[in-house]
């Protein structure tokens, strides 16, 4: 199912100050708009990557 643009827009608005958090949620939305079976490993990977990005954003 194509991603609902209104949802993405709202997420971006609410995470304007935390782009890594916005990317993390939009990434999950994109992931969920396709069909997947086991999700935990993928979610963990999204989370760890997003945290790293946040850290690098903070350092820069």
């Amino acid at each position: 199912m194509a991603l609902n643009k209104t949802i993405v827009k709202k997420v971006r608005e609410k995470t304007a100050q935390e782009p890594a958090l916005g990317d993390f949620i939009v990434g999950l939305l994109e992931y969920e708009s396709e069909t997947h079976g086991w999700f935990k490993a993928d979610y963990n990977s999204f989370l760890e990557k997003a945290c790293e990005e946040e850290e690098s954003d903070a350092n820069s």
């Binding site: 199912m1 935390e18 958090l21 969920e32 979610y43 963990n44 989370l47």
Partner: protein, 655 residues
Amino acid sequence: MRILSIDIRNYRQYQSLSFMFPESKNSDIHIIIAQNGVGKTNLLNAITWCLYSKEPHLGDEDKNRGLPKLNLTAMDMARAEGKDTVMVEVEIRAQDDNQHLTYKRSLPFRINGPEPFEEAAKEKFTVTTATAVGDPKVYEGEEAKNYVNKYMPEKVREYFYFDGEQLNNYFVSARKGKVRDAIFNISQVDVLHRIYERIGEIIKDKQREAGAKTPDIAKITNELSDVETQLLSIETKIEDLEDQIAKSERIIKENTEYLQGEDNFPELEKEYQELKAKQTNLTNEIKELMASMYTFVREMKLTLVFYEAAKKTLAIIAMKESENALPPNIDKEMLQKALKEHTCTVCNQSLSADGEEFIKKLIESFQVSSKTSNLLMSIRSELERIVRTALSYPEEKKRMKDKYKYLTDQLSEVGVNLDNIDKRINRVSNKEELRLKHNEREEHEELKKQNIEKLGVAKDQLKKAEDRKTKLTTDLNKALAKDMECAKLRQLIDFATNGRNIIAEVETDMMDEVRSKMEERTTYYFNELIWKKNTYDRIKLDKDFQLDLIHKDGYSCVGTTSAAERALLALSFTLALHEVSGFNSLLFIDTPVARVSDLNRINFANVLCEVSKNKQLIMTFTPDEYSPEIKKIFDQAAKTKVELALHDEKITVLK
């Protein structure tokens, strides 16, 4: 997504037929006209069978007759050609942006076995995808299903493919919750919720991981997990109770609307029965009074005849008495005893001879006079009774007449009331249903009361559990902060928790926004479609997206709308749903105007022409339904228009 073509082979009435739906810049309307029984609804079934392996639009007639999917003419022809199997196939070609998709379902039938026909193998379903430059890929099984759910999810299929009958039954109570779920599915609010829950699971995993490192954290994490489970259970309970309360409220409201004017039907029936009993009692009382009156008249007749004579006789007696003309009433026996005993019976002294002689003469002289006196005295009381009774006649007669008038007036009044109630009861064609609705309303009023009490208790439990969760989360954060090893995990947990909170906020915003937009757009479409421009004010949707139509005078009137109005409401709701959800899918409506009158059909056609600028619309009509009013509009707007006919009463062909 648009459907480009549908190819049907050997499916029910269709032996081999292709429908093409080319796109036009101004309008994407496609009209199919066919008499009943030619295959309009089975075209809809062909689509749903191809995509979901379901035929939800089969009429009872088809089900009862157990007609096979296999076209019987195709079977005869294949037999004549010496073939063993015939394939039933439906193929839908569709396009979404640059992606081309071909959905194909096939089912082989063995035609030369012991049975006239039987399925030779299981259904086969494939989806072939290709881009503009080619690169075709074929998918089967779950992967193929994923391509169906991506573009035309089965959960919400009835909001894209529906028939006229569905329009009429769109908002029945049983659909409660289903409409809300479908809307959240289409607008992807359910995706948000799924992510929210899944992040929650990840957070729990991370907390457990941290707990494994330090016992304190493990203890708090376990406790937190228990509280969260408890919270979930209370929330589910609250949701169930709220659903039940909403359901009761809806039933109370619907039944109140249904019972409007006949709100007190059971009381009316009770009153009718009571009045009937009163009528019987009064009739019996009047009968008894009449019998008493006849007896009274019979008795009085004799009395009245003798009245004058009795009166005169009494007057004579009174006169004689006053003149002392009547002898005294002497005790003859006492005198005879005195003679016999020669002693005065009064003073007990011996009687002299003269005395005895006087008594003898007295007895002889009084013999006749005493008899007359006794006679007169004996009839006197009867005469007095006759006179007394005769004198009481007017009063007694008046009493009886008054009572008769009172009873007949009462009877007449009861008769009028009975007539009124009878008329009110007879106006009601569906008495049994009224009784049911009334009872159902009473049951739900009681149920609602009980559930509100339970809800109060559950909300109190929820508050306590939430307070406990807040405390445990604070404790956990403190414990994590103390342990440097857990710093990384804490960072992940915090990040995921923030993300989860954002998701929850967006979910709430979306739910409110979707409902508010749905209300606005459904009202807009309904106002465009409905011919009564000054009757309705707006459409309201509750949290379950149950629809309510508000009259200009402020009261709810969805329960009293006509079938045509309900069909237009359903259509307005569907059009709003497509628009608000932003879901790019076609809309297929089988016999949409079956219940819609001529003027509404013009509004209907104009609105759908407008909608078709951004959406593919496929509609089927009978020739009668495709009346001049809509023909004038759709003939100009439609990109394609085909007429179907039944060849040899067996095969659907293009006319």
